[in-house]
Symmetry: D2
C-alpha cells in the first residue's frame, strides 16, 4: 500500500512504458523535468493525506475493504462524502496551484460503481463483481487511476460507426475466451503518466449498432500496446532551463495522448461491452461527478491566483487602493460562486441503487458552466492587477548576469524587492498564460465536457414544462 511520495515514485518507476515527449522517450516520469512537476502534484494526494489535520477530508471508511482509504479511491457513501471530496479538492488546488490529476480516476470509479450495478440488474451480467474486485485492489494498494474518456473523434459530424476510419473511437477489434482486443486513441488524458491503472469509458452515448464502441475496462498503464505522447503546454520548456523563477511554480499538470495499439484486456477487467444503452448513462454520471470536481480544484487554484494578485498589488504599493480592492473582491466573489455550486450539487446528492452517492446533475452542470467562464474573468482581473511587467520581465538568466542583473534589481524593485515581484509575477504568468493556464483556463473550458455539453444537460434537466405550469397558473391560463 502506497502512502508516501517516495513509495509512490518507486511504484511509478517500476512501470515499463512507451512515453514520448518532444520527440524523445521519457524513461522516468518522476525525474524528467517535463513531467516531474506533475508527479509532485499527484504525490501531494498521498502526502497531504498523511497530515492528521487533513484526515477528515482525505480519508474515508471503505465498506468494501473495511478500513480507511484515501478518498481518491473511495466510493461516496453520503452527501458528506461528496462535500468532503470538493473541500479536499479545494485544499489540493491551494497546495499545488494546478491540476493534481487524480480526480478523473476517482470520478470514473464512482461512475462505474453504480453503472455496472444497474447494467447487471438489466442484463444479468457480472460487471459489478468484476468491478468490485478491481476496486478492492485499487483501494488496498492505494493506486492512482487515470480515467480515459475522450476519443480522438474524427469528423465531429459523424457518429462513431460512421467514421471513414473505424478507429476514431476506441473499439473492440477482437475477442476470445481470455478477453478482448481494443484499438483507438484517447486524447487529453490528464495525468495518465502518473497513473498505475487507466480506466476506459465511452466518450458519448452509443446507438444499438455501435456495440463494439460501448465498452469500459481497466488496464495497467504498462499494458502491451499502449503508447503515450505528452502534450505541449504554453512555456513548457522553461522547466528544462534549470531555473526556478521563470517557471513560476514547482508543480504542474500534464495531458497525454494515449494510443491503444491492439491492447489485450482480460474479461475480468471488462466492465461494459455491448450494452449500448448504458454507454450514455456511464458518460453522464462520470461527467456529473467531474463537473462537481471543478467546483473544488479550480477554486483552490483561484485562491492562489487571488493571493498572487493581492501580493502583486501590495508589492507595487497599491494594495489598498479602492479599484484594486474592488477587483480582488470581484475575483473572490466569482471564486466562491463556483465553490457554492460545487458544494450545492454535493449536498443535494442522492444514493444510486448500488449505494454510491450521486451528485445533483443539474447543479453539477451549472457548476461546470460557471467554471467555463469565471476563471477567464479572474485571470483577466489578475492580469490587470499584475501590470504589464507580466510579459515584459527579463529572464532569470539576465537577473543572474553580473552586468544586467544589478540593473534589474535596481529598477524592478517597488514597494518590495525586485526578486519578490518577479517571483509573484511569474506565478501569475504560470497560472494565466503559462503551463498552469492549460489547466486553469483550457481545462476549465473543456474538461468534463465543453460548455455546450453542459448547456444541453441543463436544458434537459431544467424542467421547462413544470416552469410553464407555474407561469400558466399565475397568468390565469387554462392548463
Amino acid at each position: 500500500m502506497i502512502t508516501t511520495r517516495d513509495e509512490y515514485a518507486a511504484s511509478l518507476r517500476a512501470l515499463r512504458r512507451k512515453v514520448y515527449a518532444m520527440g524523445q522517450k521519457v524513461e522516468d516520469v518522476t525525474t524528467h523535468p517535463l513531467t516531474r512537476p506533475s508527479f509532485l502534484a499527484v504525490a501531494e494526494t498521498y502526502e497531504q493525506a498523511r497530515d492528521p489535520e487533513n484526515e477528515a477530508l482525505f480519508m474515508a471508511e471503505s465498506r468494501l475493504i473495511g478500513r480507511k482509504v484515501n478518498r481518491f479511491v473511495h466510493i461516496h457513501g453520503s452527501t458528506d462524502d461528496l462535500v468532503a471530496k470538493v473541500k479536499m479538492q479545494r485544499l489540493l488546488g491551494q497546495v499545488t496551484g494546478c491540476c493534481f490529476q487524480r480526480c478523473v480516476g476517482m470520478d470514473a470509479l464512482n461512475a462505474l460503481h453504480s453503472t455496472t450495478y444497474e447494467v447487471d440488474e438489466t442484463h444479468g451480467t457480472q460487471y459489478h463483481q468484476r468491478f468490485l474486485a478491481f476496486l478492492r485492489r485499487v483501494q488496498e494498494d492505494n493506486l492512482v487511476c487515470g480515467g480515459a474518456m475522450t476519443d480522438s473523434k474524427g469528423d465531429r459530424k459523424l457518429r462513431p460507426s460512421q467514421q471513414e476510419d473505424p478507429d476514431m473511437y476506441v473499439h473492440v477489434v477482437g475477442q476470445d475466451k481470455a478477453g478482448i482486443v481494443v484499438r483507438g486513441a484517447k486524447f487529453h488524458q490528464t495525468g495518465t503518466l502518473n497513473a498505475h491503472e487507466v480506466i476506459v469509458m465511452p466518450t458519448t452515448a452509443m446507438s444499438p449498432e455501435e456495440r463494439d464502441y460501448a465498452i469500459s475496462f481497466a488496464v495497467p498503464t504498462d499494458a502491451e500496446g499502449l503508447v503515450f505522447i505528452l502534450g505541449r503546454q504554453p512555456s513548457d520548456t522553461r522547466k528544462l532551463e534549470g531555473e526556478t523563477i521563470d517557471v513560476g511554480s514547482p508543480y504542474g499538470g500534464h495531458e497525454v495522448m494515449v494510443v491503444f495499439n491492439d491492447v489485450f484486456v482480460p474479461w475480468e477487467r471488462v466492465f461494459l461491452f455491448g450494452e449500448t444503452e448504458f454507454a450514455g448513462i456511464l458518460v453522464e454520471r462520470f461527467a456529473a461527478y467531474h463537473r462537481q470536481s471543478y467546483g473544488g480544484c479550480k477554486v483552490g487554484t483561484g485562491d492562489v491566483l487571488i493571493g498572487a494578485a493581492a501580493l502583486a498589488a501590495e508589492l507595487n504599493g497599491v494594495g489598498s487602493v479602492s479599484h484594486v480592492v474592488d477587483k480582488l473582491v470581484e475575483m473572490t466573489h466569482l471564486n466562491e460562486t463556483m465553490h457554492a455550486c460545487g458544494l450545492a450539487c454535493s449536498t443535494q446528492g442522492r444514493p444510486t441503487r448500488s449505494g454510491a452517492y450521486m451528485v445533483d446533475p443539474l447543479l453539477a452542470n451549472v457548476c461546470k458552466l460557471n467554471v467555463t467562464r469565471f476563471p477567464y474573468e479572474m485571470a483577466r482581473l489578475a492580469e490587470d492587477l499584475a501590470g504589464g511587467l507580466l510579459v515584459t520581465m527579463p529572464s532569470q538568466r539576465d537577473l543572474d548576469d553580473p552586468e544586467v542583473g544589478p540593473l534589474i534589481r535596481k529598477y524592478v524593485k517597488a514597494h518590495g524587492p525586485a526578486v519578490d515581484r518577479m517571483r509573484v509575477l511569474r506565478l501569475i504568468e504560470y497560472l494565466t498564460t503559462g503551463p498552469g493556464g492549460a489547466a486553469y483556463r483550457t481545462e476549465s473550458m473543456h474538461g468534463a465536457g465543453s460548455p455546450q455539453a453542459q448547456k444541453i444537460m441543463i436544458g434537459r434537466l431544467a424542467g421547462f414544462e413544470d416552469k410553464k405550469r407555474l407561469a400558466k397558473r399565475l397568468a390565469g391560463m387554462e392548463e
Copy 2:
C-alpha cells in the same frame, strides 16, 4: 393560532392602524385593491403550510414551545433547517411569483435570538429572556412579523449622531420605568401592513456615543404613533382598474414607509438599548440571513419567469428554435447558480452560542451579490423572448370592446390564441417592469443591503492574508 387565509385576514382586520395610500386612508388591507395582492401572497405562507406534501419544508419543531410551528416563526436549529428555509422560499416564489414578505420577520427573529444571548453574556442584561417571551407568543399565535431595519438616513455622508435632524435614524427620545419612547422612520418596509408585529433593529453599526440609536424592540403594528405610507410601484394602479389580464398576476408585494411618531415601547419588548458594539453584529446577522433568503425566493420567481418566457416563445411558434432554447438555458443556469449559493451558505452554516444556526456569512454575501446581477440579465433575456408586444399590447378594455376587441383577437393570435399570448406577456411585464419588477429587480438589488454592502463584507471575509500565503509558498517567497 392562525392557520388559514381567513383566520389571517380576520386577524389583520382586527388591527386599527393609520395607513395611507395614494393620498387616502386604507381601512382594510385585505380587501383594498392596492394591498389585497400582497395580503394574498402572505396568506400563502399559511395555506401552503397546510398542504401535507409541504410539511417538511413549512413546519419545524420548536424547542421553545415543544411543538411544530410554521417555519417563518422558527429558530433554525440545524443546517437542515437552513436548507429547508431556502427551499420553502423557492416554493413560495414559484407559487406567488412575488415577495411573500414574511422572511424579514423570520430573519429578524433568528438574528435577535443569538445576538440577545450574547449581549446578555457580555453585559449581564436580560434581553434574551424578554426576546424568548416575545417569541413564544409569536410561535404560539403563528404571527407575521415585519422587520424594520433601514432608517431614512438623511445625508449619507454623516453618521446618525451627526445629522442636522436627529430623527434621521430611529432613536430613543424618552424613557421611564415603564419603557422607552422612540422617534424616526423606517423606509422600504416590506409587507409591514400584513404584519401583526414589527421588529425594529438598527440600520448600521453604532459608535459608543450613539447609545440612543443602538436599539432593538418590537411593537404591534397598531401601536399608537405609527403611521404607514404605501410606496408606489410601477403600474400599481392597474389593480384599481378592476380587470385581471392587465395586472399580470393576482399576487404582489408592497413596501411602506413607517413613521414612528414618539411610539412607546414597554421594557419587556426592548431587546437592545445602548450596547452599541452589538448594533453592528445584529445588523450583520440579520443581513446574512436575509442575503441567504434571496437564494430561495428570487429563484422561485425566476422559475416563473423562465416558464413564462418559454411559454411566450412557444405561443409564437418558436419554442424549439436554437437561440430561444439557448436563452432559456442561460436563464436557468443563472437561476440555479443563485440557488446553489443559497443552498451552500445554508449547508455550511454553524451554530451560534444561543443554539440558533447561522449561515456561512461569506457565501451568503456571495449569494446576494449574484442576486443583484442575475435577475436583471434574466429579465433582459425574458424581454428578448417576449418580443416587442410586451409594451405595445392593447389594454383589456380594448379587448373587451365590441369594435376593436375582434381585431385584437384576430391579429394577436399566433401559434396560440390571442388571449393566451396577452396573459403570458402581461405576466412577464408584471415580473420585469410592473409591480413585480419592484421585487424582482429593485429588491434584488437593494434588499438586505445594496451591492456595495456585500462587496465590503466579501472583502472582510475573503481571507486575503491566507491567500497571499498560498501564493508566497508556490512562488518560493520567504514568509
Copy 3:
C-alpha cells in the same frame, strides 16, 4: 409648411381618425393625457429645428426641392449627413428623454429612395418618380411620417403565404385601375398617432409566390379603413392622475397597433408591388438605417439617465464616493460605446445608385446589437445608484396630504430636499421601469429587429472566408 409646435398641433387636430385607448375613443391626441406627452416629444423635432444653434444638425439642403428642409424629411447626401442625423438624434434624446418617434419615417424615406430607384432599373417600373412626388410634398409641408414594418406575423414558424389566416401579413386583397386594396395589421407602430402619413413596408424577405405581400406604399393616417389601438406602457395611467412628479417626465413615446381594414391606396402612392426579390432589400436598408438611429437617440436618453443617477447620488450625499463614480464612469463608457458605433456606421457610409447615402451595414448591426445590451446594464447601474426608494416612495398625493405630507418632507430629505429626491427618482423610474422604459429597454431590444436579427446580419457580413484566409496564411496552411 409646419414649423412650430402650434402649427403641428393644428395639423394633427385636422385629421379625423379612429383611435382607441384603454377602451375609449381618443378625439385629440395633442391634448389627451395619454398621448399628449408623445405629441410634445415629436413637437421638439420642429421646435429644436428653429433654434439657430441647432441649424447644422436639424436642417439640410434638399436637392429635390432646392431649399433647406428639416433633416427628418431629408435624403442623406453624404456621410456628413449621416453623422448629423445621429448627433441630432442624441440631442433630441437629451431634450426629451424618450423616443421622439420621427426617425422611423426618416429611415423609411431613405430606404425607399434607393430601393425604388433600383427596382425601376431592374423592372422598368416607375416607382422612384412616384416616390419623389410623395417626398416632395413631405418635404414642402414638413410632414411627420410613420413607418410601418412589423406585421402581426401569426405563427412564426410559417411563412407569410403559409399562415392559416392570410391576413397575418399586410397584403393586397384587391386592385383596379385606381389602385390597390390592402388588409392586415402592423404592430408596434411608434408614434403613428402623431404622423400625417404612414409608409408601409414588408416585414421580411418574400419568396416569389408571395407577390401580394411584397408591397410598399404610403397612406395618410386618416385614410378610410385604418384603426389605431394604443398600446399600454408600464405606469401609463399615471398620466391620467393629473400630477407631475409621479409621471417622471413631461415627454413620452407611444406605440399603436394599426389595423388596415381593406384600405384603398391609389397607384401613385404604391412604391413596390410584386417585385418580391426587393422586399428583403428594402427591409435590410430600412433596418440598417434604423439600427444606426439607435446609436443616437438611446445615447441621448442615456445621457439623461447618467445625469439623473449622478444627481440621485449627489442628493444622497455620496456623489464622490469611489464606487459611485466608478458606476457613473461605466455607464458613460457603455453609452459612448453605442454612440461610437452610431458614428462609425455613419462615417463609413457609401452612396447608393440613387444618390442616397447608406450606412455601413455591418457596423449598423453591431451598433444595434450593443443597444440590445448596454441600456439594460445602464438601467441596472442607475437602479443601484438610485437606492431602494425608487420603488418604495409615496405618491405625490401623499406628499400633498396635510397629515402625511410633512412626514414625507421630513424623512425623505437627505443631502438635498425631499421633493428634489422624489423628482429625480421618479425620472429614473420613468426611464427604467416606467413608460420611458418601454422605449429605453424594450424598444432598444426589439426596435429595428430583435437581437437575433442583428446576429444573422453580422454573420452574413462578417467575411468569415476572408478571415479564414488570413489565418491560413499565418498558420502556414495551403489555400
Copy 4:
C-alpha cells in the same frame, strides 16, 4: 531613405547596441531567432507600403518635406488621416497577427508636434523647431521610432520626487552647454530593438518641483549608455526550437527594458525640460493617440483569431453548427465594436494649434477601455471553439518521429488532415496563451495605460454636470 525589408535590416545591423536576451548578448536582432519575428513584423510596415493597393492607407503627403511619406512618420493633417491610420493598423494586424511595433513612435511624434508648439507659445521656447528638424530627418529617412513613456516607477504610492531611489523615473542628472545627461529606465518598451530612434516622454503629470523629471527628448538607439534587456513572453523559446508549427506564427512582437545609464542628449534633441505643466498634457495626448491605435491593430489581430477559430471548427466538421456560428458572430460583434470606437474617435478628431489633428479624447479612452475587455472574451470564445487539443497536442518533434508521427497523423485527423488542425490550433495558442497573447491580451490591458487610467479620463471628460442639467430639466427641478 529606407523602403524595403532588406534596406531596413541593413539599417538595423548598422547599429551597435548592448542588447541582452536570456542572459546572453544579441548581436543581430534581424537574425536572432528570439527577435527576428518582431523584425519581420516591423518590416511589413515598409513592405505593405510598397503595395500600390495600400497606398491610400500607408502613404501621406508631408507638409514638412513636401512629399509622400510613410504614414508611420506622418503628422495627421485631417480626420481622414486619423481614419486612414486606424485602417492601416487593422490591415497590418491582419497581416502580422501581432504588434507591429511602429505605432508608439508615430503616436509620440504626433503628440510632440502639438505639445512643443504650445509650450513655445507659453514659454517662448524653441522646442517646436527642434522637433521639426528631428521630424524632418525621420521622414526623409523613413526611420522607425520607439516611444518611451513608462518609467520603472518604484513605489506606486509615491510621486517621482518622493521615491527613495531618485532614478525610479527618468530624470536629468546633469547639464551643460552641449546638452543634458539623463538616468533611469523605461519599461515595457515595444519594439525598441527594431527602432532607429527612441523618443522619451514623461510617464505622468509632474508637479512644479519635479522639473528634472519633466523631460522629453530623442536619442538614437545606439546612444552611449543605453542597455536593452529583452522581456520574456509565454512560450518564447519555441522560436529556438527550429521548427515552425509549434511556434504558431512567423511574426511576433517584443518588449524590452531600456536602461538609461547617464545618457547624453544634445540640446537640439531636447523637446521639453522643466515646463512641468506640459508633462501631463504630453502624456494625455500620446495616450489618446495610442488608445485610438488599439481600435486598429487589435481588431486586425482579432480578424485573424476569428478566422482561426472558424477554421478550427470547420476542420472538426462543426463549422455550421448553431452554437459555433453564434460564437463566431459574437467574436465579430466584439471586434467590430472596438473598430467602431477606433473609427469614431478618429472622425471626431479636431485640429490642435500646431495643425496636427488630435483624436476625440473621450472616445479614444472608451475605445481602449473596450480593448481591455473584449480581446479576453474573444480569446475565451476562441479557446471554446478550438477544443482541448489546444493544450494537449504533441510537439512537431513527435510529429516528425518515425514511430509516433504516424499515430499522430492517424488520430489527429478530423474533417481535415492532422497537420492542418495542428497548424491552426498552434496559431490560436500563439494568439491566446503564446507569445502573441502577450500582445493580444496583456498589451490590450496595459498598453497606453491600464484600464483604471482610462476610467479616470472618461470620468473627467464625461460632462457629468451637463448631464445633471438635462436630468434636472426633465425632472422639473430648479437649476
